[in-house]
Structures are given as structure tokens and as C-alpha cells.
Symmetry: C2
């Protein structure tokens, strides 16, 4: 055993795609970019690298297929160990809560460094974006086989909607506070300790 690779959601994604059907690289990337783009995001080069790793670990097999004069295809198939790994990764993924990404919350922490009106205006733009995203959320094309895209999309929509509601409520609250005489006691210069 030369190396112990730690598998993550990308491995789960690829194994899942290959569990449904053996495919070659272009097909896999196409599928992820077009069908799964709302749930998963993986670039071509990343997929190739992951596929290599999975192959090196014996989780998938590669078979060369030539069609006419076209460039040869590498058809990837999941192996028996690969199915076992997929099963484990899937069960773990379902049972695990992901750590929340901080991206959007950093700004909230420092919101008081902006004039109230400006901050609220910015948050309004965020709200508008969220509304747009929620409004034209096209249900993805019909899913084939056992793929349950709807569930994932439904989850994303639910969370986004909660995000939206929180934002709307918060903006209202901030605006109400803005009209009060002394919104924040610590507005005066106050070194942090």
C-alpha cells in the first residue's frame, strides 16, 4: 500500500455517475456540467485527475473503445471495490452535516463599518438576487434511472428560501432601527478588547 488517499464528495460524485452507467470522460463531464450543474460543480481537469486517482486505487476500470476514425474513448466502469467505496461514501455523506461556508457571512460581521443606508442598499441588492434565483428555478430536465436530482434541487430551494426570508426580515429590522434615535450604544469610538 503506497498511499492512503482520502476520498471526498468528488469521488462520490464520479462513482455515482459511473454506478448509473459506464461512460467515457467527455460524457461524464458533459453530464455533470449540463445535468448536474445546479447541484454539483466540477471542472474537466479536476474530473480527469480524480478519475486517475480512482483508477490507480482500483475503484474503476478503463477500457479503450475506438469508433471509426474518431479519437479513442476511455470508457470508465466502476469495479466491485468501487461499488463498496461508493456505498460507504454515500452512507457517510447522507449521515453527515456539512460545515457551512462562511463566504456570505463575513460581510454581515462588519456591516456596522458601513453607513446604515449603504449597508441596507447592498443587502437589498442581495435580496433581489435571491428573489431572481428563486423565481426562475427551472426544474431540471427529466432524470433518468435512479438519479434523484429533484430531491437535491428541492433542498437547495428550501435553504435559499429560508435565506431569503431571513434577509427580508433582517432588512426590515435594520430599517426600523435606523429610524430610532440611538440605534447602537457602542457607536462611539470604542477600542475592542
Amino acid at each position: 500500500m503506497p498511499k492512503t488517499t482520502t476520498w471526498d464528495e468528488r469521488a462520490l460524485l464520479l462513482l455515482g455517475v459511473l454506478t448509473t452507467q459506464s461512460q467515457h470522460g467527455y460524457q461524464i463531464n458533459d453530464f455533470i456540467e449540463n445535468r448536474l450543474c445546479r447541484v454539483a460543480d466540477m471542472k474537466k481537469a479536476t474530473a480527469y485527475a480524480q478519475l486517475d486517482r480512482l483508477h490507480a486505487a482500483g475503484m474503476i476500470e478503463i477500457e479503450i473503445a475506438q469508433v471509426g476514425n474518431r479519437p479513442p474513448r476511455k470508457v470508465y466502469s466502476i469495479t466491485e471495490p468501487g461499488r463498496a467505496l461508493f456505498h460507504d461514501l454515500l452512507a457517510t455523506n447522507l449521515a453527515t452535516v456539512e460545515a457551512p461556508a462562511f463566504a456570505g457571512d463575513i460581510g454581515l460581521m462588519f456591516m456596522n463599518h458601513l453607513p446604515r443606508a449603504e449597508a441596507i442598499a447592498a443587502l437589498r441588492r442581495r435580496l433581489a438576487q435571491l428573489d431572481t434565483l428563486i423565481a426562475n428555478q427551472p426544474m431540471p430536465p427529466p432524470h433518468g434511472g435512479k438519479l434523484n436530482l429533484d430531491l437535491a434541487v428541492d433542498h437547495i430551494v428550501a435553504v435559499r428560501r429560508a435565506d431569503r426570508d431571513w434577509l427580508a426580515t433582517t432588512i426590515d429590522r435594520l430599517e426600523a432601527e435606523a429610524t430610532l434615535p440611538n440605534p447602537h450604544p457602542q457607536a462611539a469610538a470604542n477600542p475592542l478588547s
Copy 2:
């Protein structure tokens, strides 16, 4: 113009911390790890690298301070251009919707590849975790200065709660389906595929 660096939330985070008060590296990392850990996550080495980049770009100044025989401190202060950058990054961050991380949704897509009971059991474990996280969500220690940690934490809690509710509802629905005669057409063993 030698290079155009693209600033992200990490730059925003560090500039925000330094806007509040000039600090040296250890203080900054300590602050992020202890006070902001629930909202932001940045490792020591990453912070040092970012601070170097910000310094190279003239966004922060470095001043050496010696205290007794201790190792010299590098005290970082935000500059005028740094404040301008902070302002822009902050406004943009507040006005922008972050792309959702896919981590937890990959599994949902492939859920049907697991026996229903097993999948539901896994989701129950996720639910239990979420409940725990929501239950002992200690309000962070009193925030000093203009830092508005509460708002960010409140947001995280709101989203988590929505996540939890969605999960609970979904589990119920899946269980209801499981007791029906023919929950999914392709559930039966199919010799052809």
C-alpha cells in the same frame, strides 16, 4: 502594473479585523480562531500568506514592535488604500449571493442507490447532528466595538434551522412512501439493466 491580485473573503476578513484595531499576527489568528470561529475559518499559515499579499499591495503597513526580550511583533495596520478596498469588498460581499456549496447534496442525488431503510437511517443521523448543533449553539462572547457577530450567527442559525426542518419533513415523506406498495417503478429487480 506588475500583478492584479483578486481579493476574496479572506482579504475582507483580515481587513475587517484590522479596521477595528491594529494587531500583530498572533493576535489576529487568536481572534479569528476564538472569537470568530463560528462564522469564519482561516488557518494561521493562510492568514500570514494573505497578510503578506495585502502588504505587498500596500493595503496594510507593518511595524516592528519589541517588548522586552520577547520575539519581535509585527504589528499590522490598515492603510488608506486598504480602507478603500475594505469598503468595496464589504459592499460587494453584502450585495452578493454566494454560490451554494454542494457537499451535502451529492448524496441526496444518489440516495436511491441505497436501500430505503439504510438511506433513511443515515438521514436520521444527519438530523440528530443538526439538532445537536442547533441546541447547543452558544451565543458567542460579548462583541466589542463595531463587530456584529450576532447578526452572522443569527443568519447561520436561521439557515441551519431551515435545513433541519427540510430534513425532518423529507424523512417523514420518504418513510410514508416506503410503506406504500410501489414507491418507485424501478425499485423492482430488473434483469435487463
